[in-house]
Subunit: 316 residues, 6 copies
């Protein structure tokens, strides 16, 4: 039986295949008998599922974040498809790559990486060009950047999200520099934007969902990014003064102590990278949220922004 | 005797002419005799001055913010020029324009106004083009925008500053829109940026210094700007929905309640105008502050940013 | 069958009539079959209801905030009445007025309006009496004030609540003025209290529940109230100075920027109106909350006040 | 030579008499010679004074807050009277009462005390009337209330200020109760208002200026007031429940933890006393500040309110 | 049938005995029939229970915090034991002491009390030794200290917890003093630590759970502790200066106004007691939380500390 | 002429020698003539000085923080010694060590270093002992620790202060561990305390006063300390898990994001080091401040603690 993606499921379809189990519950009915409620996912979306037969025994065989092999069929319930399962077990040796089960970027990472390299190619300061070469030549790092998410939830929380966000911040830094001319050192702004979130390749791990690593939780991506940068600068032989400025941009990019930056931006370039990062994060989150606004134009309450958002004026 | 600008004063020069009196003090020496210490200004800068003869009597004749007619000479003291005066009195009928005594913009307002009109000319939404025409046709308003300061102190605090700041925010809104494509309604972002600080033409008055008006202090430029906008929209016949969105952008542009916006940005467009405004204000203030940094690259403590600022990396 | 109010329901009563549907849920039992749980309301209160037959099909026919026609009977369950329904559908052409389905004020609005007019009649300043006349002559506005709620939830959240609150704030402003004699301008305090929440007639809409309007959420009742006031002052020919003071009182009545006032009170009169408003809102909320305190005198935790409240000392 | 009050000083007058020394400085001129600058006060106001002869020796003989005997004359300087002294020494055995040297209340304390007693006389609850009698019979306490200041600086900071403030809060509590009828227990509001600041008779000491006592600084007037109240309640035999409510009103009257109340108001009565106290303090401070506003109606920046204040609308 | 402790329950065991009912719910199944879900507890732990027969009738007979007599058996469900009951009723005359139903301290209170007395015995200042004797001689107070909890929830929330916490704070104060030598007055630190939470014997009541008393909620343990201390100092004849310092330590031990101290620590000794208290509370809470960390070393989110906690480095 | 220390100066003494110039001002008298006011310091204290002859010319020759060669004499003025100078010039080749001009520690650094080494010698975990050896063997680092200050101002702001503070925090961590037994990993607490402020050897530079380095201001001692630690751990071959825990303790020791820690303490050991650091800093600052309290026991207002401090109870 061919594998079916969540996005392609039809009412009445029967399936025997693997999904990622995102949520699992074992509530109990009035006779003290448990049944399973599940959320199953692949890279195209997620679907609710239920299982009543031998629920307790079957529930023992897997946990959340496992890949699971299920058998059942798709039924229409309250206008939405759900799966009624007869069987579920841990998928021990799933040959499919982990990315089959995670939300995916909607843009082409190859094209984005090209644009990123092109932007870095416009940097003229020789104190930075060697460092750029060392970083771009680190194939493992570049692959991690290309595959990495920028967050566990909220915005850019999917493989490729880190690259998308990094590139967008670089573009914003670039156009802001254009507006202020000689006032800003464009080279440092662009390279700083490139560097700012690199530490996320060690803060977040992707494997059947996106998780924080232990060092991610205890040290954070600013510190981890600094270690990556230090190693690359040692290899590139970056001069002390340039090194100090780049470290400061990276450390200060959260903008405020209470947002986890141990130092606040004290140079114009650190300030620009901080604000470009903040702007891209906020606008991308808002955009995603507004895609789920109601017919009346309003979203539900958004704790992230402590407000309701409203779809803005229509294009004429 | 020809009038001499502060910037052109030479040691030993004698002068009899008008300045703006910015500060005036009448301290007393140990014999109980007062003497006058003053700060005098024209549009090119300011200079300290002292007067010992009949200080008390002469001090009665004017107050701070008066134009004063002085006689004296320039002497070098501790490496800086100061004026030793023999005479000072209020300049009752000074034929010079007020702008002779205020700091001036370094850019050409005519050219800036052209760029602003050109940017507004790219707006396509017919719901907005009528409004734009009404506002641009209001010669008095356009002159006030061209002459107005954007603040009493800090950034853009000189005639022409309002136009400089408005144009810069419009440019930033424009390039941010370019980065996010169809997600943002560019027309509303650009027009919102144009409108956001218009109320300052009634909040601030220029006459021998920049002052807040009473209604500026009691109502603020958001409310005053809304009244200007309402009048123009009534004349242009702006549709209710467009009117509501523009009013929201204007009201929300301070971004937070505690910064004086009665509503926070709830549309993407209001958010973009807010962040573009904030970015231009901060970068312009920092730039001006950094021009006064010490030889070691650091500025004095800046209460506005609650930090010391550092001259960033040098251009290679 | 005669219509029965919630407050009059008896165990065993059968009914076929219209209610407002305030909440609607469609949970599912272990066989995958949904059932409906509802909260139904009229102006005397609300009651829970359940429906099992063809729950999914019937649920499609209406949404929350609809008027619904139901058939069923009242049963006693755990000491409280609930409705067991067999049928529910949207009530398309309900001839009853919307106020039949909303909580109602316990005081007589006619008598309150009389007292309000009487209080305004004591204002002596000719700069204000013309304005008062214009506002009282605006029949539509006065009707909106009389019918309007002062909030969507919490205190005075029912038709007539706006008038109740407005009058109470006027009374408090009046007695506070009496305590401080010539220090305060009583006329401005009383008129300011009258004006302070008028914008709520456009911020809130009543129709099967109380809802915020779009302009209410994007602009707020301070800005909307200012527009009402501006129009009335234009008609009354109010002098600029008086207009500025009244606008300030209205804008500043929330007292703090973070509560949505773009300017904080800077005159004694604006301060008095702010504090009278705050006092009436808090005391009325607390009073309503304390009516639901437990036998031991304590209420549940109140997020609004971030505390538990206690019934105070008994009257001797 | 008859004693002259500050308020009655005339240019050229010679005087030999006692003042309170509020400020004392010993600056030095360029020859390394010190001279004395002083602020001298009596109950009608204060005046600047200077002394050049043997300034250092004479300065050794007294400190700030001493009563000093001076000889000198009044001269007009910069439009204001100042004293030029030839002699100054500590006034060891000044026969005048301390109140001769402190700012005085403008109202009649006897009349105020009568009104306070009358208000307490309207209390009906027998659980409170015994306590009232015990307190009113404590002649020492009543005298301290009558003589005491309500603060060291800011509002009511003069002998009699405590009585003025206490009475005003009682009046406000009374009229607020009248507006809310049976909702509030008026007896507890009025008695609570009477009690709320009693502890200030031990927190502040008057002797050549107003000072905090050590226990005032380490324990505060809430705790000290509670001790006074506990003693009186023990004598009056106040019932436990009434005692608990009164203690709560007293402890909670600052309204917030961060303002020094260990518990926030949890009964309506505690809330009313808190708000009445806050209102009287704020309005009285603002009134005093506004008396010093400039010709343009604005005061200087007021750190207490974090704003500039504006004289409100004129009485017609 | 012998009574069985929760900790000793075995699958299949039948029991007829008394528990404390900590939580009680009466949800309803799809046929409108309620069933009971309960949490039952004794001093060794707690267990979930269900009851289906005549649930509504049986539920009427008791409320949360009652001791209940139950009949049923223990079944294994989802790997955990739960009780399926057939009968539940209020246990009217349970002969067992209340402590049988509360979590218990793991340390020996007798031994702790000995250590506390020994520590107090090292105090040398005669101004304090009389007071110590009065307090230790108050058998009722000492018994309340020995039996009392230090909190309703969180750390030390069991009989004996107050003694544990008090002793630990005394020990910390002692070793901190040792590190700073003559700088600190060790006697006041040790006695202050002993006194700091004594008021909790009146703030909290133990009877089938730990509850706040009314005076606990309206006055708090700082104020109640001060009353205990005042009485003991009156009996011991403590000198005014010593009394003031002890009162200050007690009042200030929460460290900040917003944590409920009406005065912040102003002496070194008050500061030390505050920090020792804070340290013991935090470490004890964290220790208890970490005992429930997952296999990966992390706990669930802890609102008390606004973070996730991690089991630290293992002992080598 | 033999060099005289500030602490030994006598009235009338003449001196020709070197001091550190801490403050320099050039005010002007009424004839427009400047004079110099100075604060001069050596390691025993500081003294005010004045110079009138050719003040402007002499002032050109040096700036604040210079070592200066002066000639003059000590005079008694207002009960305090001051220097009246006739000559001042920059001391170009002063043979004295910089420490001659800085406040000095009152304790013996050699003895302290011994105690620190002894404490580290009690660490048993082999994962840490190698690292300890590497650090103790780094002679340059140990010398920097021994010579370094712990702050630029406030507490421990003198050479040796870093060692004093580090040792005190280690001692506190040690005794806290003793109170909680097996709950805490004592080895990590002691080593973490040793490491916590090591980065200050690069954040602060001593040379005629204590100054922040550029990297100190842009990166901070947490980041700089982490780099030192990383290098030592690489050399010692510290295992990943131990490395992660030590890094976390170091990064988290400021306790809160807003105090500059990019991560807050998430292990008990990180929490203990944070609190021990905080306690030592606060107590040492308070102790120093209290040494300057007035006769009445109170200090001046202390912005650092936002309060006045009071000398606590006297030792009996």
């Amino acid at each position: 039986m061919e594998r079916q993606y969540v996005i392609d499921l039809k009412e009445g379809a029967r399936l025997k295949q693997v999904f990622l189990c995102k949520h699992k519950n074992l509530p109990v009915d009035r006779n003290g008998r448990p049944y399973l409620t599940l959320t199953l996912a692949d890279r195209t979306g997620s679907v609710d599922a239920l299982l009543w037969e031998e629920a307790e025994r079957q529930a023992r065989g897997f946990t959340e974040s496992d890949l699971v092999h299920v058998a059942g069929k798709a039924v229409l319930f309250q206008g939405r498809l759900q799966l009624h399962l007869t069987e579920i077990r841990k998928a021990e040796d799933c040959p499919l790559p982990a990315t089959e089960f995670l939300a995916a970027s909607r843009v082409d990472p190859g094209q984005e990486l090209d644009e990123l390299v092109t932007l870095l190619g416009t940097v003229e300061d020789p104190a930075l060009t060697d460092l750029i070469r060392v970083l771009l030549d680190d194939a493992e790092l570049m692959e991690a950047l290309r595959q990495g998410p920028a967050a566990r939830t909220i915005h850019h929380a999917y493989p490729g999200g880190l690259l998308e966000h990094t590139l967008s911040v670089m573009r914003l830094a670039d156009v802001i520099c254009a507006n202020y001319g000689q006032v800003l050192n464009r080279d440092y702004c662009v390279v700083g934007a490139f560097l700012h979130d690199l530490g996320k390749v060690r803060e977040l791990a992707v494997s059947q969902g996106i998780h924080y690593t232990d060092e991610g939780r205890l040290l954070g991506h600013l510190t981890l990014g600094l270690q990556l940068l230090d190693r690359a600068m040692a290899e590139a032989g970056t001069a002390d003064d340039a090194a100090m400025h780049l470290r400061h941009i990276l450390l200060a990019h959260h903008g405020k102590l209470e947002h986890g930056s141990p130092k606040r931006p004290k140079t114009l370039e650190a300030f620009v990278v901080h604000r470009a990062d903040e702007l891209d994060s906020a606008l991308t989150s808002m955009k995603e949220i507004l895609e789920q606004s109601s017919a009346n134009g309003w979203t539900a309450y958004q704790a992230l922004f402590d407000r309701y958002l409203f779809r803005g004026p229509k294009k004429s």
